[in-house]
Amino acid sequence: MTTLDPPFKWRREKLGAGVWEHRGKVAIAGYGHSPVDRRWDETSMDKTLGAYSILACQKAMDDAGVTADQIDGVVCCPTTIAGASGGAASNWAPRPFFAPPYDSEWGLTRVNAKWLIDQMHLPNVKFAPSSVPTIGEMVGLAAQAVGDGLCTTCLVIYPTGNLTGRYRRGGENAEDYAKGERQWTVPWGNHGGNDFINIFPHNQYCITYGGTHDDVAPFVINQHRNGLLTPWGFNANHGIPQLTLEDYVTSRFILKPLRIWDCDRPVNASAAYLFTTAERAKDMKQPPIYVLNHSQHNFKPRSTQPVLDEIEMWTDHAARLMYEGAGLGPEDVDIFNPYDGYSTMTQFFLEAFQWHGVKRGDSFAFYAGDIRVEGPHPFSSSGGNLGNGRTRTAMYTDSIQQLRGTAGRRQVRVRADTALCAFTTPSSGGWIMLGKHPS
C-alpha cells in the first residue's frame, strides 16, 4: 500500500497562510448514503458496514456519473467511531467470523480503503492513504489531495458501525484501573468524551450569559424537525415521532443537565462523497459544488477540564482560520451546518462563526426565534446528528443539496450560494466551506 500512501502535507491549521491555493479548483460531484440502521442485525450480509459502504460508494459514483475505472483515489476512515471503549458494540471478535470478505473485522465493524478497493474491483487507484482521520478532517485531506494532483477522482467514505450492546460500555470503560491520560479523569467518573468535554463549559456558559440548560430545547426540536425532512436519515425511516418541548423537558438525564435528547443516536450506516477537480466536475452529471477552503485545528486544555474561556478561544481561532482561507466573512455564509452530536457544543460554533450576526451569549435567544428551514435563519438545515442519527455526514450532504437546490422539503428560502459545515468539537476536527460558484 506504500505507493498509494505518499507522505503529503494536507492540514491547514495555521493563521496567516492566506486564501487556500486550490480555492474553487476542487469540487464535490456526488454523494451517496446507505440506509441508516440502528445496529447491524448480525445476519444480513447485505447490511454489513462493508456492504453499506460499497452501496454508498456506488450511489456517489452514480450521482456523479463516474465509473469504477475512473476512480483513482480512495479516502476511507478505518477506525470505529466508538474508539477504545467500544467493547462489544464495536468489535465482532471474539465471535467467529464469516466467509471472505467477512473473515475479519474489516467489512463488519470497520472499513478501509484496501478492503473497498478489493471488493469494488477498482483497477486504477493511485492514492489510498492508510492513516485517515474522521470525516471532519478527511474531507480536507481529500480536497487537498485532489488540488495537489495526487488523484483526480476520489471517493471519500465515512462508515459508522454499531452492533448490539450498550455503546461505549466496554473496553477500557469496563476496567478497574485507569492508565495514561485516564488516570486524571476516570477515578472521579469522567469516562472521557465530548459529552464531558462540553457539559462543564456549557454550564459555565449558562452562568456567564444567563439562561438554563433547557434553553437548547428549541434547537434540539428543530434538529428533529429537519431530520424528519431528510429522506435518507434514521428518524425519517424509523417512525420516530416529532420531538416536542414536553418530551424534551421531561426526558431522562445522562449527565445532568445533559439529557438523552441532547445526545445523538449511534447507528450502523455509511456515506460516500466523490471529490474531483473543478474541471472534471463540469463534465459530470451534477452541477459541481466547489470547495472554497478546508481547515483543521487541535487544541489542548491547560488543565484537566477545558473551560468556557478556552472553548471560546479555540472556536474563535477556528472561525478566523476558516474565513481567512475561504476569503469570506460571516455575512457571506448562507448555509451553516455545525456539529451537534451533543447539543451543548453547537452554540460555541454558532457564536464563533457569528452566523447571522449571533455573538457570544446570543445563542439561546437565537434558538428561541425562527430557525426553521422555511424561515429567515435556517440554522443547521441538515438536522445534523440529533435529527438523523450519528452518521456525522448529514451536515455535508445537506450543504451539497442546499447549494444544488435539491434539498426538497428542507430547501431553504434564503440565498444558498455558500455552505459551511463540519464534524468537529471545539478542541479538534475541521471545517469545510463549499460554494455554488468557484469564486
Partner: protein
C-alpha cells in the same frame, strides 16, 4: 463507592507518591513560574522538560460548576449513580482545575462557588486519590 484506580507511570509517580502521603504536589515550570496539572512530560507553555520541577500546593479551591452522573459508562461506578462530579478550580492558580465527587455533599445539592479543601480517599489498599470537600 468503588472508584476506578489510577495507575502511576514513571512520569506521574512522584505525584501519586505524594498523594499517598496526603500531599498535593504539582509540576512547576521555573521558566514560566507556572503550575501544571495534569502531569506532563514538558511545560505546556514553553515546552521545556528541564525546567519542570515539583511544588507542593495548599489544596484549597472553589467549586466552578458541576454535573450529576446519572447514566455513565464506567462499570465500576454503576452502583454509585447518580453522583456529583464537580469542577474545582485551585485558589493558588484558578487556571488549574480538578474533578471532584465532593464526599459529604448530597447529590444535586452542590454549593456552586463554595470553597473546598483537598482530602485524600483510599480507592485501593495503599492507593489514595485527591478528593475535594466543601467547607462551609
Amino acid at each position: 463507592m468503588p472508584k476506578v484506580i489510577p495507575v502511576a507511570d514513571p512520569l506521574s509517580k512522584p505525584f501519586w507518591d505524594a498523594v499517598n502521603q496526603k500531599k498535593l504536589l504539582l509540576q512547576f515550570c521555573s521558566g514560566c513560574r507556572r503550575l501544571q496539572y495534569p502531569i506532563r512530560d514538558r511545560c505546556a507553555d514553553c515546552g521545556s522538560a528541564e525546567k519542570l520541577g515539583w511544588k507542593e500546593v495548599r489544596g484549597r479551591g472553589h467549586i466552578s460548576t458541576y454535573i450529576i452522573i446519572e447514566d455513565g459508562r464506567l462499570d465500576r461506578r454503576m452502583s454509585d449513580q447518580p453522583y456529583n462530579l464537580a469542577l474545582v478550580t485551585m485558589d493558588e492558580d484558578p487556571g488549574i482545575n480538578f474533578y471532584a465527587n465532593l464526599p459529604g455533599t448530597p447529590v444535586d445539592k452542590v454549593p456552586v462557588g463554595a470553597p473546598v479543601e483537598v482530602v485524600f480517599e483510599e480507592v485501593a489498599p495503599g492507593q489514595l486519590i485527591h478528593e475535594w470537600r466543601a467547607v462551609q
